[in-house]
Chain length 459, copies 2
């Protein structure tokens, strides 16, 4: 019985899968917040290069991966598919558990799958420099790695409290040659404004986004190299790039003769989940029996408790209005340790598929996720990112359910990244400093009030 | 051109290679420090289980890897062999560079290759608990992982200053269920004695070894589960277990049609270097042309500036006398950031082969190693452990030399581990806080004075 299923390099997928071509109900368009009208490509041109905007709105089912992108992806791809034999033996449930190991990338997560093509498309469009924001640093480090591969400058605005408390991913960015500054910074109007109000501001993802977008759109005026902005999740083209995960997994599972009864991933903005799941959602649309579960924290229950409606993608209301499950752009989740899952919204493509009943959302409480992560580390050996532990908790739930039902099942889970730079979270767990908080309905209702009068998606 | 060469799981080597069977001059025996007589197996029995002692003195060329060990090694082995294409393109030298990626293990280094079999042999010998020491935590974390796999208790004495300043590897140990205490501790006679002298002692590897050995040999008397001690480098059986690296690399290189002109590894105690190099040293003994380079820091130049003589393996003079290159057991190297290379001695097997001209030692200064690591990160993508950067510096030296000589060469290097939990060292480098120190000859002479009157190896 093979524990690891490799693909040869010539089996690396040559195309990404665009689920827009197969959705029973098309995704509703992003709206201009001023006019309420659907957004045109030109509206996004100051922020993103046009070739990525074209991908964002493409309806083509298969999109060729450019050769220079394949060349860089080969640094760590195809990633191995593992059979979680040791966990299976521990659980004693009638399940086969396969996991896609995205922790083998230089940045230790799935994020480089989109950082590499994004930087490539910027480069061929003539962009010399990319600005972005990062919270705990997963995205900032992935983008820095990608920029070092293509010779572009990277400027990362990192939420100040993470910059100070979590130096390791910042140091990864430096090692790859990027410039990382704590946000709010004195380098943008938005940052200076925030510092004038509170010189000790711990920062937030919302402020950091404002700074990065401002940096991008004002770079030419400031005499900086031509700059665009880059986002690590939520948008269609980001999810598209991540589908290489699921496409590889399909080929690897085919070698085993197994097909998953259940596909599981954790979902913050939705990109690692979608990347693994969308090729199987396609099969489901075509009539195949497969259960697809997106796992979120109970402290930020976007899909399970948030309505599907138009909202801003960011807290500072700079983005277009996106049709998505949201807790309201002003919602501030409790400081759980899975920073990558603390997003108020959810990718519009994932949200639409939840509405269509093709994806089943599930919320898991924090302590259960860490318990799952510890079980994983002591069986499979690898230490998972706190985000990934949400998916692992659902795997264990489903394995036990299979035992109760007396059914044999095949489970595929996306192991989105390792937790070697997130060990402080495990420490807090072992020291009993973590707790589960049931999110009061009033808090959600309060945050959603800000959306009164916003356009509603057509159902 | 393939960037990664995988082995299937059924190609995993089934035997370790024991170089003792092929050495032109046999390794000289360890001596009892009291009597000066060669050590018998029984002398070691309170410290190690007899099955490992038998391996330590074995002259068999091939030693079967037990099935339960193979089963655990499959968690991450066979490890991939990578072609460093991006570095080759950057260097523009007439070389092919292959690297064995040992960073894919759960602990992120080569150390689990011996932790797994050591824990297994202890388990079949009836041992319930293992005590060990660790400096920066590489070995302690690997042993903790291995103990979690076989259900043994692990107790790690970690040098206090590392315990406080480098919490991440300690947290890895906790995640795998081990108990890790700062050394000196109040739990042993040795620790209490040290704390009585200096309650704020930062600890040292020497003290931590004393504590771990005392813990092992006194456990029964204290009513603890039956305990033995475990060491992560230097000893013959440790190097033996690591030969799986080179044996895999041989098979992988055979698939490419290439054979290395040069094999390179960094050497602290010698185990990762030996693990990759010994199968090629065997070829060299048999007449093959291959250059084998062991790289050490100029600040701890054991092989390049230390004599080959009998010395204690530890600073507190508890071990047998070992025949090795040494700077004297009292030698305290400058606090360079490659903690794994700060050992005063060198594995006896490696030392003997250096004496026989089969291994070429080379010392590299710290700044050059970090420069090499940064070049590596910005080409190959992966961030290396500071120890590994010593090997990479020699790779770059040899590539440039090949260009000067106008010769095409194939280089194999052991990429012994990633540096994601060692990023503080990169930070110090970027901030200009690191420097090269030429080690004064007086310091070495001074440390070697302690060896006056010690037995000398027969030459």
């Amino acid at each position: 019985m093979a524990v690891k299923i490799f693909l040869n390099e010539d089996e690396l997928p040559r195309q990404w899968y665009n689920i827009a071509a197969d959705m029973p109900n098309p995704m509703q368009p992003p709206l201009h917040p001023g006019t309420g009208q659907p957004l045109g490509p030109d509206d996004l041109a100051p922020v993103f290069p046009m070739n990525l905007i074209e991908q964002e709105v493409s309806q083509e089912r298969w999109i060729d991966i450019p050769e220079p992108v394949l060349d860089k992806l080969l640094i760590w791809r195809p990633s191995p598919l593992y059979r979680a034999v040791k966990l299976e033996q521990h659980l004693k449930c009638p399940v086969k558990i396969y996991y896609k190991n995205e922790g083998v990338s230089p940045a230790g997560s799935h994020k480089p799958n989109t950082a590499i093509p994004q930087v490539y498309y910027n480069k061929v469009f003539g962009i010399k420099r990319i600005a972005t924001e990062t919270g705990a640093g997963q995205w900032g480090s992935a983008l820095s790695f990608a920029c070092s591969q293509f010779g572009l400058e990277a400027k990362v605005y990192m939420v100040r409290i993470s910059y100070e408390q979590k130096p390791y991913r910042r140091l990864m960015m430096n090692t790859w040659g990027a410039t990382c500054v704590p946000s709010p910074s004195t380098e943008t109007e938005a940052g200076r404004k925030m510092l004038a109000i509170d010189p000790n501001s711990p920062g937030s993802l919302g402020i950091a986004i404002s700074e990065a977008v401002e940096d991008a759109v004002t770079s030419e005026a400031h005499g900086r190299p031509l700059t665009r902005y880059s986002l690590g999740s939520v948008l269609n083209h980001v999810l598209l790039h991540q589908t290489i995960i699921g496409l590889e997994a399909e080929k690897q599972l085919a070698k085993t003769g197994d097909y998953p009864d259940i596909v599981i991933g954790c979902a913050g903005g939705g990109s690692n989940f979608a990347g693994c799941a969308f090729p199987f959602v396609r099969d489901k649309i075509a009539g195949k029996q497969v259960q697809i579960i997106a796992v979120e924290p109970t402290s930020c229950p976007t899909m399970t408790r948030g309505p599907f409606t138009y909202d801003f993608g960011d807290t500072v209301q700079m983005t277009p209005l996106l049709p998505m499950h949201t807790l309201g752009h002003g919602f501030v989740p409790a400081p759980i340790h899975a920073g990558g899952l603390r997003y108020h919204g959810m990718a519009p493509l994932v949200s639409q598929l939840v509405m269509d009943g093709l994806i089943e959302p599930r919320a898991v409480a924090q302590l259960e996720t860490f318990a799952a992560g510890v079980t994983w580390a002591r069986t499979e050996g690898f230490i998972s990112a706190p985000e990934t532990n949400h998916a692992l908790a659902a795997v264990i739930q489903e394995a036990k359910k299979a035992k109760e039902e007396g059914k044999e099942k095949v489970i595929l889970v996306n192991w989105s990244g390792h937790g070697l730079v997130d060990l402080a979270a495990y420490d807090a767990y072992f020291q009993g400093k973590l707790a589960d908080h049931e999110l009061p309905q009033e808090d959600i209702d309060q945050a959603l009030k800000a959306l009164e009068g916003f356009p509603k998606p057509k159902m």
